[in-house]
Symmetry: C2
Subunit: 611 residues, 2 copies
């Protein structure tokens, strides 16, 4: 008997034989669930949530060993142990997914009201005749104003141009999109009206296509930021755009082309038939978009100069929220499509961080709350004692796998989870293929495991006598995978040098947290909630991060990993004018703490290097 399994929030379905495990169903459906131990039930990485357990096996001994009573009560099960006997819905939390599928689009959603910035109206006009010679635009305007609206404005000739044809082709009926008093779109009655939310990361770009009539999400997709070809990190891209003739234009064109392609792909994915030739949706139906990114990504998207952003004192060209028109940057959306850009907080605390604060409702929290986004720069915001203060710390690219001997990005073949199983370092790779290197979460796991088993001391020094440690060419190192396992002639190791890179990264991050707490007159112990956003941050083991002192040692249940909150925030600002106004409020309220001018920073940084 075939039964149907529905994986959420990723939205994939599969029909499978009754009696299969959830993990098997997931593999069949192409849903990447973590399984470090290979399905033995020992790693506990494949935790999933079931609302309804009537059609599945009862928890077995392995599960009752690994999961605590509270987990079981809440409906948490191990995917590798649970067998399914009837149609079942499985919720896969972000931390249980492999990196490729957590990618960068999912995030915790919160409830908010659908209050779109563009109001859609299907209107019926009287036909022009010799005795009623009103011009087409004014004829439409008159009907719009009938309900006491102010006189209609229009900022794009390309909209006005469409009106005569649409009216005469559709028997004087027309669908109009109104953004306040501005006419931003016209189309045939009943035609789709779309919105697009985008989080433009330095590495990855996440897009969400929504129906602006119903507010439903039609499709989501993550792609790489093609600007990587011109520089891995923000500083490299600023340098490129400054040093190369036409460099700024090249970088802008790269991201704009990618966004146009993303919009096309999302429209095809959202269509009922998924056919490229006869799409149900088209990018030219997108009337509103919200885009967020760090300040450099924001400037490069808009073609704003970045030279001054790369030189002390690192000043942005503009930080306020902006409404621009899609055609100003060659986005092939509807003629009057507005691109709303949330406010940047400072040169190195961008709109993506603000969007994350919005999505997590950080600005509404009582008590002491830390919200952070981990990246080459880690942006941190603290709420405490009525203040909201942000800073940016140069945490470096260690967690992106750079400057680490066998480091790599979170891609297929990356070791993403490491755990000591039977006194050996067991691991799981993205895609369950032979290991190629270590991605950030794997690196963090290794170091935490080395610390916990006593192979590494609090200065980061490795113990040569420990069975997991060996002497490499120059430095001591921990062996993670032998050449035999990798299928190449080299082992995968983590060396003392690599550990030093991580110490710098986590030291900067922790020092930033401490300086914010100090500025607000609070201490780590006061923290009520610690929110971690972003692809990397959502996937790391919080225990590991606490173990090495990257995060303060507070109860684990105060941490919350929220996935791509920046993307979710963008989507909320797209669908709700109230949420958008809140975002603007955060931009005005938040204070910025410049760490480079703080004498205390160096001191805290050195202290925070300790594991």
């Amino acid at each position: 008997m075939k039964i149907e399994v529905d994986f959420q929030p990723i939205g994939k379905h599969v029909k499978i034989d009754s009696g299969a495990t959830i993990l098997e169903a997931a593999q069949e459906a192409g849903v990447g669930i973590s399984a470090i131990c290979g399905g033995a039930g020992s790693c506990g990485a494949c935790r999933v949530h079931l609302d309804d357990q009537e059609q599945v096996s009862k928890p077995n001994e392995t599960e009752t060993d690994v999961l605590d009573a509270e987990d079981l009560t809440e409906g948490i099960r191990l995917a590798c142990q649970t067998k399914i006997y009837g149609d079942t819905r499985v919720e896969v939390p972000p931390e249980s997914m492999t990196a490729t599928q957590r990618t960068q689009v999912e995030g915790d959603e919160i409830d908010f009201e659908f209050e779109p910035p563009v109001e859609i109206k299907d209107l019926s006009l009287s036909k022009a005749r010799s005795t009623d010679l009103q011009a087409d635009f004014e004829r439409l305007s008159a009907v719009v104003s009938e309900n006491g609206r102010p006189a209609m404005q229009c900022r794009r000739l390309n909209i006005i141009k469409q009106i005569p044809g649409l009216l005469r082709q559709n028997k004087w009926k027309i669908r109009a999109g109104l953004r306040g008093d501005e006419l931003v779109s016209v189309s045939a009655p009943g035609a789709p009206v779309l919105g697009l939310a985008v989080d433009i990361g330095t590495t990855k770009v996440a897009g969400y296509l929504v129906d602006m009539v119903s507010g439903t999400t039609l499709a989501m997709k993550g792609i790489m930021n093609p600007q990587i070809a011109y520089g891995e990190d923000v500083m490299a891209r600023i340098t490129y755009s400054t040093m190369h003739e036409n460099g700024l234009n090249i970088l802008q064109t790269a991201i704009v082309d990618a966004l146009n392609e993303l919009a096309r792909d999302l429209c095809i994915a959202a269509g009922s038939n998924g056919e490229e030739e006869t799409p149900d949706y088209q990018p030219s139906q997108i009337v509103e978009s919200v885009m967020v990114g760090n300040t450099a990504m924001h400037h490069l998207l808009l073609g704003l100069p970045v030279e001054q952003l790369g030189l002390s004192p690192y000043v942005a060209a503009v930080t306020s929220p902006l409404d621009i028109k899609a055609d100003e940057i060659n986005l092939a959306f509807s003629a009057g499509a507005t691109i709303h850009l949330l406010a940047n907080i400072a040169g190195f605390v961008g709109a993506d961080h603000l969007s994350m604060l919005l999505a997590t409702n950080t600005h509404k929290k009582k008590g002491v709350v830390v919200s952070l986004d981990i990246g080459t720069n880690t942006e941190i915001t603290l709420i405490a004692n009525g203040r909201m203060i942000s800073c940016s710390t140069a945490s470096g690219p260690a967690f992106e796998g750079a400057h680490i001997r066998h480091g790599m990005r979170a891609a297929e073949g990356a070791i993403e989870r490491v755990q000591i199983v039977d006194n050996k370092l067991a691991f799981q790779t993205i895609g369950n293929v032979a290991p190629i290197g270590l991605c950030g979460s794997g690196i963090l796991d290794v170091i935490a495991q080395l610390k916990l088993c006593g192979a590494m001391n609090d200065k980061g020094a490795l113990d040569e006598k420990h069975p997991l440690i060996r002497r490499g060419e120059k430095l001591l190192e921990a062996l993670i995978a032998t050449g035999e396992i990798t299928g190449t002639d080299h082992d995968i190791v983590l060396s003392r040098g690599d550990i030093n890179e991580v110490q710098m990264a986590k030291g900067a991050m922790r020092a930033g947290i401490e300086l914010l707490l100090d500025a607000a007159g609070a201490t780590a112990g006061d923290i009520d909630e610690f929110i971690i956003a972003g692809a990397f941050g959502s996937y790391i083991s919080v225990e590991a991060a606490v173990a090495i002192g990257m995060f303060p040692d507070i109860p684990l249940d105060r941490f919350r990993q929220v996935g791509n909150a920046a993307g979710i925030g963008a989507k909320q600002a797209l669908l709700s004018t109230t949420r958008r106004a809140e975002a603007a409020g955060i931009g005005k309220q938040v204070e910025y703490l410049e760490l480079t001018v703080s004498e205390k920073f160096q001191e805290e940084f050195l202290k925070a290097m300790y594991m």
Copy 2:
């Protein structure tokens, strides 16, 4: 002894020997003053005005014969008779200039206050530093808002892009252009800020470059409308744009390219050195422009569809005043330059007519006033009994020389003035060269003279027995110039068929006037002022027009020929927000009378065909 003569308003100067006549000085300066009789003093066409007559000869017998006492008291003299003995300023009224120089740029100016829509501010900002990290745009905005202005908006990224560079290159000083709360331009402190007014006629285009800081006119120039290559008149162009793939785009590109070139030429002409390579002014300094044209020219400039404008009921796509951005139609002005388009009144009464009503202050007149623009369509507005009513009559192209056997446009070699001198038809050509054909004013003069000397009756029939009339190949005709004079083997004649074309044209015009009077409950005798605008209308002999019944038979001093009032109105709307608001008011107030649905029109038209 050399003396200097200053010709106004054309703005040309010349040094000439003392004792020369004003006509000789004008010929030396290249100022085309009419002289039908060749300087004999008999035609009275070379009337000029002198404010100060101290340095010129006293009126001679010829002048006292031709001019009346009132003329002489007001300072009117004949250019061919008046000798100059010292530096003198000569005002040449439009009706005394040859067609090429009256062209299409001059017009009567009226006083109004300089209240530009863009306010120019030279600002000094504090430098960004680590302890003052405000972004550049917000830093500028803060200084602008210091004087209680609302928060500054900006609608063009291309403006924001310039701010970081300008601030750092000019020691944090900057010149900002503010249009209400919108930042529309940034430049180095003290850089020129320009405005451009344009009247886009179906045949000719007139441009005026002004300094938006002082309000002075820097240069003016007339060019041909290059769309002529795609159709001589409005209907031909509508047909072209509808029938040819990409036709609308071709017509739009033609006029836009011409306007860009006109702007460049005006900037070069306005510069102190007139050098193309190092211009003092550049089109990229134009921040505001007002453009007027008939409804079809308006639509073709903006790329708006014109198909519905060419089909009954002839409906415009839009009639309201519009603010668009120059880059929307590829005008290479400043990044945020606004193009303001005055309102159209109806499909065949365009913004150029509204602009003419503004320039002549028609809307402020008391009593009964007729204002009209003669062209292929003649637009007429009547003020009477508290109403302002407009109509358009299809007067046809006869006055542009079309459908007339030896007709031609007002270009070099065109016979522009005809008068019976010594029982013969004497004439003057544009440029004083051998005659090629007859332009509109010449045609009108011939017919009026034929009527006055009895060679033509009130039905337009020619009298074969009259010495000026001969039998042509098919029809009777009046000989104007023999082949000997033209230097070719053909004579220039005006035939009975040509007269019929003029009867249709003037009949339509007069019928329009009568229908407006009827609609407002007035009669021709009530008319207090009769304003005639446009190149052709300003140059015709009003006596001739009255003689053939084109205009009602009212005292000649009630007629006023105002030159290119449409262009002057555009310039006023460019320089004065009050004038611009008045223009919008006219657009709202004016009623449109559709003649094609009037039963009375045909009746009046037939009646008005009589000479």
